[in-house]
Amino acid sequence: MAFEPKELQKEIKYEEIRIYSDAELNNYTEEELKNFKIKHDIPDLDDLEKGPWPSFVADAKQGALHRRKLADDRMLIDRDVIEDMLGQLQISFDEGETHWKHGGIVGVFGYGGGVIGRYSDLPEKYPSIAHFHTVRVAQPSSKFYDSNFLRTVCDLWEYRGSGLMNLHGSTGDLVLLGTTTEQLEPIFFELTHEMQVDIGGSGSNLRTPECCIGKARCEWSCYDTQDLCYELTQYYQDELHRPAFPYKFKFKFDGCPNGCVASIARSDMSFIGTWRDDIRIDQEAVKAYIAGEVVPNGGAHKGRDWGKFDIQKEVLDLCPTKCMWMEDGELKIDNAECTRCMHCISVMPKALRPGTDTGVTILCGAKAPILEGAQMATLIVPFMKAEPPYDNIKEFIEKVWEWWMEEGKNRERLGELIQRATLPKFLEVLELPAMPQYVKEPRSNPYILWKEEDVPGGWSRDIKDYRARHKR
């Protein structure tokens, strides 16, 4: 059953909820900024402003000056938050130790995630950052924003928080950095009731799912990434907001193997669009590329002269499975050997397109280094259709969760559990047959151990019969 909204999306009355005028937002001159010094000495941070790169220090100083010049009743937490944050960071650089305390019971009513408690352990020295909590705001699918929305979030955060934010965190959330405990419920109310946006996930629960731009703009998308992302976000609200997992769990959705949200490296369950029929070839367009009539790579990298397009060198030789060749002026592909890497399609988008029998490949177990080192996801389901209401996908997800919640240790990611319990065990739980492609290389995961019921005759044998054929 697909998710059905209980109420229609309200129209957001931006003009009523905006807080600051343009004059308040642009309240200092370039000259003032150049001469501005924050109240702490921060030599190492000043150093980070040098060089051609953008610098968070420069951004933070702008925020600090902006707060210096706002009227007293135009912000609800301390004026000095940004200056104190920078001051404490300088101390951390001096001592090589962090002064943020980790964790606490802050949260908003009924939610087990989305708000992360942070406290300074130098509250006497830096009183305005004694509480400096983070709020994660769920991004819309593919991050399509209305600029009114972004301005309103910025206003809200300037007014009830530090004004510092980072877009976007690893899960895709808008990350609002630094507010006090008293401001959390009002922020939550305004985000959810006035702005119709939820807060994201944190802690031992499903994190805010994230997808590539998908069918909204990209012709390669093999399924509707936004729809699947939205559906699973709504369908698994309980898992998102009420933590009961052993540890965090992330879904990410790439529409094709180009992997624009890098789901294969960044999510416990990665959905990558693919096709199981043949790559569509327009032979006339192939000829046009060869003749130099169409720029390769959709015009990317055309800033310099790479010479004449060479289909042999740039496409055929780079096919990882070497399944392409030219025959009588036509491009041929042995589709059974094609690993769907997208290389040829990306180079010649006018000539080649993914097939039409599309769906998803599901991979599990990627993670950043925590207990064990970093890990890429392992292919589990080579192909599955991905169409609403996605019951097949939900059934798969729930089997995985059930096992992980049962067998996983506290703070053990799915990928670590698969390593500990073994891949064959995971496949057995999912009732999937093992296939040769699961063997990465014989040295690291060579063995499929047979169980007695897998072997004709089991473990018992007639020793006399055996000896009749094999001498001692």
Partner: protein, 77 residues
């Protein structure tokens, strides 16, 4: 549900610890009530959160449950 809530509170009150992973709550409840399903235990925990008996503790990367007013303050240790 009431039975599960009672088991959760009893476990949390009798433990020396003040913060619990969900898994540890689940195991403790299943010790006194072997038929209790994980989802039901989770529902009971949520109900205890909603009525204010329990609170969440989060480091940002993992989450624990505790009884309100028992050892857990707003400050981290």
């Amino acid at each position: 549900m009431e039975e599960l809530k009672k088991a959760i509170i009893e476990f949390a009150e009798s433990s020396k610890k003040t913060k619990f992973y969900f898994k540890d709550i689940e195991k403790a409840v299943q010790k006194v009530n072997p038929d209790a399903k994980m989802r039901e235990i989770k529902k009971a925990c949520t109900a205890l959160i909603n009525d204010g008996t329990m609170i969440y503790f989060s480091t940002g990367s993992s989450t624990m449950y505790g009884l309100k007013g028992r050892g857990m303050t707003e400050d981290p240790e």
